[in-house]
């Protein structure tokens, strides 16, 4: 074990810090569109957007270790995201780089890196959520086109997206349902697409239902081979993070909770101290498991359980933090505004928004199935 950085890695980290000192003052208006636009231009010039993507496609060609350093330093300073197209950077881009044709790479990757427009993700369906592999949204090949009919749901930011990465069924294989799934890249303004936003329990609408009614998609927009869609998706999701950057934001939230406990003069109570200590311990456990996962990546070993473990810990923490903050406020907990409410009601918001993280991308119970089946070898359900 060795937690030191090489001189090159240290130099890289110092470079990132210097950049942040110069371009991200403490009082920067991190949500101001003007500031964010300027920020995106600068980090794009540094080739920090798509940092680990190959240089040929316009990425940074950075190493795994440098990427971890970059993400951690950014998170420590509450930096805006690297790149304006969240899903494009997270999984659409990596999937196109791995499975796309030359034309597709040239057509999509530069726009993703520039954050020219948003991508959304069409996976879940009303009848197939946790059981995603059984999805039924249908695509039939007609000449040089696919004709798509069906429905997707829980599609985040569908109403603001220009393109969707879509999983459809192109054939039925009795024995292996995954074999008949194909991945298509579809323009959201194609005739026959209807988007209907869904109001969530916090009162906002971030996700939507998307209806496909004889939507014609050029065959050249198929990503990967016909029937290869499941693999494309798995590859894309495997690019998900080790969780080290989340640790920084969870730590910041915990610091704010400690401050709140002090302000409310409850930081001396044994149960309050214990709940905070439990959260702190779990956050650090996430950090250490994340570093173990990073080590495996650096050694070129296959990633094992660490990411599922961290997803479950994070889910617990997201729920517990909001819950704890509301508990701390006593009878003011259930209020959302007014003089009795602490920190302008941000904790009340958090206590109602955890499903975005906890349920999105696989419920905790599905994660537990994955751990029990793939790691402990229990029979499939």
């Amino acid at each position: 074990m060795d937690f030191t950085l090489t001189p090159e890695e240290e130099a890289f980290r110092d470079g990132v810090r210097a950049f942040l000192d110069e371009n991200l003052p403490e009082d920067a208006k991190r949500t101001d569109p003007g500031f964010v636009a300027g920020w995106q231009k600068k980090v794009r010039e540094k080739r920090w957007v798509g940092f680990s993507w190959p240089k040929e496609v316009g990425g940074g060609g950075g190493s795994i270790m440098e990427q971890a350093i970059l993400k951690e330093e950014m998170a420590k300073r509450k930096a805006p995201p690297l790149g304006g197209c969240f899903m494009g950077i997270q999984w659409v881009g990596p999937a196109i780089i791995a499975y796309g044709t030359e034309e597709q790479k040239q057509k999509f990757i530069p726009d993703i890196l520039d954050g020219a427009y948003q991508w959304c993700t069409g996976y879940s369906e009303p009848d197939y959520g946790s059981d995603l592999g059984a999805l039924q949204c249908k695509a039939v090949r007609e000449g040089e086109e696919y004709v798509v009919t069906g429905q997707k749901i829980w599609t985040s930011i569908a109403m603001w997206s220009k393109w969707i990465i879509l999983l459809v069924r192109t054939s039925n294989h009795g024995d292996d349902k995954h074999k008949g799934i194909t991945c298509l890249l579809v323009r959201m303004d194609s005739p026959g697409i209807t988007v209907r936003p869904i109001k969530n329990m916090s009162g906002g609408a971030m996700f939507a239902e998307v209806f496909f009614d004889d939507v014609r998609v050029p065959a050249e927009n198929r990503l990967g081979d016909e029937g290869e869609g499941w693999r494309v998706t798995i590859t894309a999701l495997a690019h998900e993070r080790s969780g080290i950057a989340e640790v920084e934001s969870l730590t910041r939230n915990l610091d704010a909770l400690k401050k709140l406990a002090r302000e409310l003069e409850r930081s001396g109570e044994a149960s309050v101290r214990r709940r905070i200590a439990v959260m702190e311990t779990r956050i650090q456990a996430m950090r250490m498991s994340g570093l173990r996962a990073l080590t495996k990546q650096l050694r070129g070993e296959p990633l094992g359980s660490e990411t599922s473990v961290n997803k479950l810990l994070r889910a617990q923490l997201e729920v517990e933090m909001g819950d704890f903050a509301v508990d701390l406020q006593g009878c003011a907990g259930p209020l959302v505004a007014g003089e009795s409410v602490s920190d302008g009601g941000r904790w009340q918001k958090m206590s109602l928004s955890w499903p975005e993280v906890v349920i999105g991308g696989g419920t905790p119970n599905i994660q537990k199935n994955i751990i029990a089946e793939r790691i402990l070898g229990l029979p499939k359900d």
């Binding site: 074990m1 060795d2 937690f3 030191t4 950085l5 890695e9 270790m65 400690k258 406990a261 002090r262 930081s267 044994a270 101290r273 214990r274 905070i276 200590a277 439990v278 702190e280 311990t281 779990r282 650090q284 456990a285 996430m286 250490m288 498991s289 570093l291 173990r292 990073l294 080590t295 495996k296 650096l298 050694r299 359980s305 660490e306 599922s308 473990v309 479950l312 810990l313 119970n365 994660q367 537990k368 199935n369 751990i371 029990a372 089946e373 790691i375 402990l376 070898g377 229990l378 029979p379 499939k380 359900d381």
Partner: protein
């Protein structure tokens, strides 16, 4: 940056596991620990593991050990924990750490070789009541008499008290905390084990009535805190192994036992608790690995991470022990099936060197509350 084990450490793990599988199966564990009037461990095993170098793993080479670090020790103790290996190995290792931290060069040179070659079984006696191992709770009186110290009082929950030949005793000389070393066969020493749930772990009582020992020259309150931290990490390392052992045993049973026409491991009521057990062990394992590294390389951080690891482990292993029994159903309640052995180990380990309440409170204080 590398947060993994070296090839040498992987090799050590493989060798330890192989020896334990061959020489101390669960049948053997039961034979040794259930023997009427037995010592609770095997002298033959003791000799063998001395020769394998396990006893001197963290003792410096010039004193007959292998001179390895706490990360290497974690590898060894994870495996002994997995096998529920009954042995004063843990007590001896902790006592060696105490001598290394508190002894003068001359004392180390004189005392450590016996611990490394197995000719002496040593243990550390800190506690005087059932609370956490706070340095402030050390009251046992020591009075200097020339080069010697005369000890008067009683120590409780001393690991392997009856087996020990050498006792390292925390005491107070005037207002100062000190550590004394004395032979268990000295006049005025009476040590005996007290019956416990976990037959693989022995705890005992040591009465000292004007017993004469020597003061370890570099001892003190801070040194004792550091020693207790090392002891806490060692206990937690065995908890990782015990947790993994309990999960493996229960998962294997869930694959074999059929009900409603299907192995019970297919049902989510069985699957999910097993997954939760796994998540917990992986999490406190990550914390303990870092804590062990801190003990070797970054002592200032060690306190916080040792406490996090032990707090998490104490809470999690309690539930793991209970779930292991419960998921077995009625056979889990029998003496014959092994599930209860892990439950009992969890009962032993939870309060040792501080329970989760104690360590979470330390985490809260260290975190600025």
């Amino acid at each position: 940056m590398d947060f993994g084990f070296t090839e040498e450490q992987d090799l050590l793990r493989a060798e330890v596991r192989k020896w334990l599988d061959q020489n101390c199966s669960m049948d053997e564990v039961r034979k040794i620990t259930e023997a009427e009037g037995g010592e609770g461990f095997s002298r033959q095993h003791w000799k063998a593991i001395a020769e394998l170098g396990w006893l001197g793993l963290t003792i410096p080479e010039e004193h007959g050990g292998a001179g390895l670090g706490w990360v290497d020790l974690v590898v060894l103790l994870e495996e002994t924990g997995r096998s529920l290996f009954p042995s004063p190995l843990l007590a001896n290792t902790i006592a060696a750490a105490a001598i290394q931290e508190a002894g003068s060069d001359e004392q180390q040179a004189r005392l450590l070789p016996g611990l490394a070659d197995g000719s002496v079984i040593a243990t550390l006696a800190v506690q005087e009541d059932s609370g956490p191992p706070e340095v402030s709770a050390v009251r046992l009186e020591g009075e200097r008499d020339g080069d010697a110290v005369v000890l008067q009082g009683e120590k409780v929950f001393v690991p392997d008290a009856a087996a020990a030949d050498l006792l390292i005793v925390a005491c107070r000389i005037g207002d100062d905390v000190a550590l004394a070393a004395l032979r268990a066969d000295s006049d005025g020493v009476a040590a005996s084990d007290e019956p416990g749930m976990d037959l693989t772990k022995r705890l005992g009582r040591v009465r000292l009535d004007a017993a004469r020992g020597e003061v370890l020259e570099r001892g003190g309150a801070e040194v004792l805190t550091r020693i207790v931290d090392r002891a806490t990490a060692a206990v937690t390392a065995e908890m990782i192994g015990a947790g993994e052992g309990a999960i493996a045993l229960t998962a294997d049973y869930a694959k074999e036992r059929t009900q409603f026409g299907s192995p019970i491991g297919r049902y989510q009521g069985v699957k999910h608790p097993l997954a939760e057990m796994y998540v917990d062990v992986e999490s406190f394992k990550s914390l303990l690995y870092y804590a062990a590294w801190c003990l070797d390389e970054s002592p200032d951080e060690a306190l916080r991470y040792v406490s996090m690891a032990k707090a998490y482990a104490s809470e999690a292993l309690a539930r793991i022990g209970i779930d292991a029994v419960q998921l077995h159903g009625a056979v889990g309640y029998t003496w014959e099936f092994d599930a209860h052995l892990y439950l009992k180990r969890s009962k032993w380990a939870r309060p040792m060197f501080g329970d989760s309440d104690y360590h979470y409170e330390r985490v809260a204080s260290l975190g600025g509350l």
